[in-house]
Amino acid sequence: MNDANSKALTLIKAHFNTLEIGSSLEFDSIFSTADVREYARENNIDWPGHYVEQNGQSLVVPGMIFFRPAVGFGLGEPNPPLARAGFFTRTSRAFTQPIRVNEAVHFRGQITDKYLRRGYYYIVVDWTATGVDGVVAVTGREWHTLGWARYPKNHPKGG
């Protein structure tokens, strides 16, 4: 392993060891018009396009709903190996009601699993997004790595 990768893995492993299955976080957030427009621009999404209710209310693009909270659990810390939050390997979402632009959303995330596999440290997080009416609008499960660094394939932990 090169020095940069070893250093990153040391930090990632230390962070991984602090994470506990069952631990959770909650916070409120609002998707502003500017937030959604920026996401749509970056991802070539035609917004508002289909994302308008009959009353003219603009809706949040489904793909971005758990994008921001995915950097929870320390993944957004200004620690170079972790700051990129790794990469998603699986995503699962179920939508039950739309989330409107400029309306408050309550997020709750809970770590449901963590493991070392094929050289990467992973966490699995279950998320809910609840609208202002108290009804869960979206549920999701995200599988993602901690950072980008991995053990090489010839390392005992790399296979």
Partner: protein, 119 residues
């Protein structure tokens, strides 16, 4: 919308779409080339499905995706979906296979989706 009885094998697609957003990462993971975050794949899938199911997607859509291969910045992908069955318990709900591929036909992500079709 087409009649529900005619939906099996219906194919829809979107693209090609160029991946321009980029995320950094270690050289080991990215071969020192900026890659497009996997949320881009997911964004294209949901855009395709929202276009097809419209408001029903926001109230009954489900999508599970496995990311297989990163898209390099500047590369293009195509997202496709195919209706494969009706839901066993709800005749107005359809199940789909969804996938993204690059311009070489290599799979980037695969997934399963379902959504109510009726208004």
């Amino acid at each position: 919308m087409p009649d529900i009885v005619n939906l099996i094998d219906l194919e829809i697609s979107r693209g090609p779409i160029q991946g321009t957003s980029a995320v950094g990462g270690s050289d080991l993971a990215t071969n020192n080339r900026p890659v497009v975050p996997n949320i881009f794949h997911f964004a294209q899938m949901t855009e395709l499905l929202v276009g097809q199911f419209q408001h029903n997607w926001f109230t009954s859509g489900q999508l599970s995706v496995r990311y297989l291969r990163p898209l390099q910045q500047g590369e293009e992908l195509v997202v496709k979906a195919k209706v494969i069955s009706y839901d066993d318990d709800n005749a107005e709900r359809v199940n789909l296979s969804v996938w993204c591929e690059n311009m070489n036909g290599e799979l980037l992500a695969t997934g399963d989706a379902s959504c109510n079709w009726g208004l």
